[in-house]
Symmetry: C2
Subunit: 94 residues, 2 copies
DNA sequence: GCTATCGTAACCTGACACGTTACAGATTAC
DNA sequence: GTAATCTGTAACGTGTCAGGTTACGATAGC
């Protein structure tokens, strides 16, 4: 269990994909084939990276879809771990 | 992009967690703190592993939540890749 | 002033995780 | 044969979330 809150993948997209190339949100959304609202929600951490979006990112920015989803998993898992103690689970194996 | 359809994580749960210990679906569902229907749906590939379920599995079977979610990502991604050509995405970076 | 960009608030749809209840089929115990 | 158990699953509900369109206010550049 990691100590620090991992950043949501939207921050990485903004920092590594949009800003270096000077892409606006509107332009990037058009290129990705999604609405401006959808991309904006991701960039601001209000939506996660869906498998489909990961593939869009991999095509547009020549990256690995798996890496985007992995970052999303880290993010989701960290938040789910915060409610770990609320789960009533019995140990079934040593 | 992998060639072969990865198995859904439910098959791994059944093969690696339930059968070796002789656990029934009903018993495992009770131990995990979910309904029998929920676990059954996962085992038969009709539901995916949510972050919360991954944590339940990690507690009950003393495994890594991340590994369960990684397998789920592989599964989801493979299926999303099947519809890759339907996505209208423009290359935005070299 | 005019235009572009951006965040975001409505609204909608569809998908999916999860729950309870109930049923049918198979298996096992008596 | 009968009862008990396990299983899958259909039929209802819930809440959440990705995605869309439309529209508004704020901020910047010309």
């Amino acid at each position: 269990m990691r100590m620090h809150n991992p950043p949501h993948p939207g921050e990485i997209i903004k920092a590594l994909c949009l800003e270096p190339v000077g892409l606006t949100v509107t332009e990037a959304a058009e290129g990705l084939g999604v609405s401006r609202k959808t991309l904006s929600a991701i960039l601001n951490g209000r939506s996660g990276i869906s498998p489909e979006m990961a593939i869009r990112l991999s095509i547009a920015f020549n990256t690995s879809a798996e890496s985007w989803l992995s970052q999303q998993v880290q993010y989701d898992l960290w938040h789910a771990e915060q409610g770990r103690k609320a789960l009533k689970v019995v140990k079934l194996a040593a």
